[in-house]
């Protein structure tokens, strides 16, 4: 009756995490057995029936024993910590050539958008064996994108970007859950992560791109989305750059105007007015747009208006993609 379900190990990190899990499991089983065997043996051997309550020995303790337990334990714990940290450091380090996909969590679904503008809801298609980075934000409350088969999760927070990096190692369909409680349909906020061969992934994207150019679905069985909503994030960013007046103060040529140029901005070390340095990443860009005075760039005046409340998450994602495309 009890058909126990086993979780596949489908990302490069999954075996590492399971190994540490199993190591701690064995440490626990051994420690627990020592304690429980101690309890049972003592209770049986020194039960009131077999042991005179007036004749028990007077023992106050054993400091050397306590200290040695502390020491052994301490070493073991530091080992577990180090192991956990090393793998964690791998989890949070994005790969150079990762496929970047934007994810927006909202009550109660997941929206995904590829760099070519393709959008999916509650479905994430990724190539096997290729590193993927999800750039995630939330449109309302906190969610958490959790793929048990990959052993990975990351909270998806409104007002900031978070990242989740992984490389899938197995073809298949794996569920992704929302792990942070978010209200009524929290338990229904499930996406399918579809891992396919890299060639299939390329084809899947190319066919879609061709369909977009032809302006109709070549198979004719799906409605064609209007171009406005399937605009590439990068293109959307460029459009907003012009429409919202960024171009009045920022160039794309490397030439500073009222504000610094966007060319080569992403990834660079920016010097701030207060003398500190910061790396230009997604979160920095988002902050610079939403709260321009929070971090002033050295050599410029605090004249940039805030765009808080004027740009949607999708539009900010677009600007970020646009600035990224001007990397070199």
């Amino acid at each position: 009756m009890l058909a126990l379900f086993k979780l596949p190990q489908s990302s490069t990190m999954a075996p590492n995490i399971d190994n540490l899990f199993n190591f701690i499991l064995w440490v626990s089983i051994v420690s627990f057995t020592i304690i429980v065997v101690g309890l049972i043996v003592f209770v049986l051997k020194y039960h009131r029936r077999r042991s005179d309550p007036e004749k028990t020995p007077y023992i106050e303790g054993h400091t050397p024993l306590e200290l040695s337990i502390c020491t052994v334990l301490f070493v073991l714990l530091m080992g577990i910590f180090a192991w956990g940290w090393i793998d964690y450091a791998k989890i949070i380090t994005p790969a150079q050539n990762a496929v970047e996909i934007n994810l927006i969590g909202r009550q109660w679904l997941w929206e995904l958008e590829y760099s070519n503008g393709r959008k999916l809801t509650n479905e994430l298609v990724i190539p096997k064996g290729k590193p993927v980075t999800l750039i995630m934000s939330s449109a309302d409350v906190i969610h958490s994108f959790f793929v048990p088969a990959f052993r990975l999760k990351q909270d998806v927070v409104p007002g900031a970007y978070t990242q989740l990096n992984f490389t899938a190692t197995e073809i298949g369909i794996f569920p992704a859950y929302c792990a942070e409680y978010c209200g009524t349909a929290h338990s229904g906020m499930i996406a399918k992560v579809r891992v396919v061969e890299p060639e299939a992934f390329e084809k899947w994207q190319q066919i879609w791109e061709i369909e977009q150019q032809l302006g109709e679905d070549s198979r004719g069985d799906r409605p064609v989305a209007p171009t406005a909503t399937t605009e590439k994030p990068e293109a959307r960013g460029q459009r907003i750059y012009a429409e919202k007046g960024c171009s009045a103060c920022h160039t794309t040529t490397g030439q500073p105007l009222v504000g610094p140029s966007f060319k080569g901005l992403f990834g660079k070390q920016e010097e701030l007015a207060d003398g500190k340095k910061t790396t230009v990443d997604e979160n920095y860009l988002r902050e610079s747009i939403m709260d321009p005075q929070a971090k002033l760039v050295k050599g410029f005046q605090p004249v940039m208006p805030t765009y808080k409340g004027q740009l949607s998450d999708e539009e900010v994602n677009g600007i970020v993609a646009f600035i990224k495309s001007l990397k070199n």
């Binding site: 126990l4 007077y58 577990i80 910590f81 964690y88 792990a179 338990s187």
Partner: protein, 526 residues
């Protein structure tokens, strides 16, 4: 039984206006146990909903309110007050040979503050309840249409009660010890309550401010936590856990204190490693303040913070393990009587060890990325809070019942209830570790079919727990009317409460006791 008992005065007013620490302790006791019963029934309903996948008895919105109320009631209205404010109030003064706490009127005021806060929370429930989870995470709690403001105000007010009780106990321990009682001849329960009181005084103001900020944001629209208003939602988590992690030790330390009292008496042995246990209580209290971030490893907190919180959290395991080792070692060469309090103390060691060890999985960064917010965490903290604190509480209730009421509970029924509770507990929560490892997130109204069989087992286990508690409540109440009269010292204990009549007189001691020996002088010196 010719002696005058503290229970003699009758009439409601004699209770409502009492400044006797024993009577105040009892009022806390019945109030909190009432909330425990409500929280327990909610838990059974939550489990019933989860018995099968899909909707079983209630819709998601009601379900969300139920698990929120279960958590909030159990944490703020039961586990936090029950041992310190109920048993601690009753026994702390007696155990140090005092006639009352340092500030008896303040003690009564704390009770009324607690009741006021609890009343607000009850009004919030009647007003439709709350659906944010007991953690009130922002921005959900800012936008939720439910009674968040009333509930937070309730928590805010109950916090004052906790602070004042803690303050009272700290002063009592410093100032009112009987002549001859040094810090190191205090019973370990006193040490535990003392360490708890320090945490209550230092940490509780933070939850007070946090709930107040939440109320201000909801009512006045000041943006502290909601990014829409310019706030930072993760900041709320820092504030919340800065209190709520130490609060975990407000909950568990007193339970550990009770176990340290019960084991020597029923094993007829001096406690093994008295100082190690006392110091480890203080060490745990101290470390508990600097590990809050382990609840936030995937919250987008910085990697450096994760590094530090993970390593610090590992350290908590050392003093904790020392305690478990010392309790077990106390049994060595003892003369062990498996009376009900002792059975609960043994259950405590067994279950709390599982709770503690599973904490290691969650403290390890990479493993927590997988396990965070899954049923593994739910199982872990129930093993600690229920397997630990509640088992310690039940040990204490049975151990001290004869002293508090002067009546014996029926021993056979006590063991029977213990059996149902111990087995039921494991049947309910052991499967949840596996569910969590397989990826089932917590606070789920519905779940994929893969998780069905273990959820079914867990629900059936909860019925055994329910039966055990029903038996226990029935015989305890029965014993008040029909129980055998208890002698002054039914367990042959050496601590001070057993040297005075059962139930105690109004002033505890006819003459101030002079302490010449430690609390655990069992066994033959060689």
């Amino acid at each position: 039984m010719a002696h005058a008992s503290y229970l003699d005065k009758k009439g409601l007013w004699s209770w409502l206006s009492t400044v006797d620490h024993k009577r105040i302790g009892l009022m806390y006791f019945w109030t909190s146990m009432g909330f425990f019963a409500i929280g327990g029934i909610l838990a059974l309903l939550v489990r019933l909903e989860l018995m099968f996948p899909g909707q079983t008895i209630i819709d998601p919105n009601l379900y969300n309110k139920m698990f929120t109320l279960h958590g909030a009631i159990m944490v703020f209205m039961f586990i936090i007050p029950i041992i310190p404010a109920a048993l601690g109030n009753f026994f702390l003064p007696i155990l140090i040979g005092a006639k009352d706490v340092a500030f008896p009127r303040l003690n009564l005021a704390s009770y009324y503050i607690f009741v006021t806060g609890a009343a607000l929370a009850v009004i919030a429930i009647l007003n439709g309840g709350v659906d944010t989870g007991w953690t009130f995470y922002t921005p959900y709690s800012i936008r939720s249409a439910t009674s968040v403001v009333l509930t937070s105000l309730g928590v805010f007010i109950m916090g004052f009660s906790s602070i004042l009780t803690g303050l009272n106990f700290i002063v009592t321990v410093h100032k009112l010890r009987a002549p001859g009682m040094t810090y190191f001849s205090m019973p370990l329960f006193v040490w535990a309550i003392y360490a708890t009181a320090i945490i209550q005084v230092l940490a509780t103001p933070v939850i007070g401010i946090t709930t107040l900020l939440l109320v201000m944001e909801r009512v006045l629209g000041i943006g502290f936590f909601d990014p829409k208003l310019g706030g930072d939602p993760v900041l709320f988590q820092h504030f919340f856990w800065f209190y709520s992690h130490p609060a975990v030790y407000i909950m568990i330390l007193p339970g550990m204190g009770i176990v340290s009292e019960v084991i020597p008496v029923f094993a007829r042995k001096h406690i093994f490693g008295y100082k190690a246990i006392a110091y480890s209580s203080l060490a745990i209290a101290f470390i508990s303040f600097i590990v809050w971030g382990h609840h936030m490893f995937v919250s987008s907190q910085s990697p450096l913070a994760n590094f530090l919180f993970s390593i610090l959290t590992m350290l908590v395991a050392v003093p904790t393990a020392i305690k478990v080792f010392n309790w077990t070692a106390t049994l060595y060469k003892g003369s062990i009587q498996l009376a009900t309090p002792m059975l609960y103390a043994l259950a405590f060691i067994f279950l709390f060890t599982i709770g503690g060890l599973t904490g290691l999985f969650l403290a390890a960064l990479s493993v927590d990325v997988h396990l965070h917010d899954t049923y593994f965490v739910v199982a872990h903290f129930h093993y600690v809070m229920m397997g630990g604190t509640v088992m310690g509480l039940l040990a204490g209730i049975h151990y001290w019942w004869p002293k508090v009421f002067g009546k014996m509970y029926p021993e056979k029924l006590g063991k029977l209830a213990w059996g149902f509770i111990f087995l039921g507990f494991n049947m309910t929560f052991l499967p949840q570790f596996y569910l969590g490892k397989m990826g089932m997130p917590r606070r789920y109204h519905d779940y994929p079919v893969e998780y069905a069989s273990l959820n079914f087992v867990s629900t059936v286990g909860s019925w055994s727990l329910g039966i055990g508690f029903a038996i226990m409540f029935s015989y305890l109440i029965w014993s008040l009317y029909r129980g055998k009269a208890a002698s002054a010292n039914p367990w042959n204990g050496k601590t001070l409460e057993w040297q005075i009549p059962s139930p105690p007189t109004e002033h505890n001691f006819e003459e101030t006791p002079v302490i010449t020996a430690g609390p655990y002088e069992y066994g033959v010196r060689t």
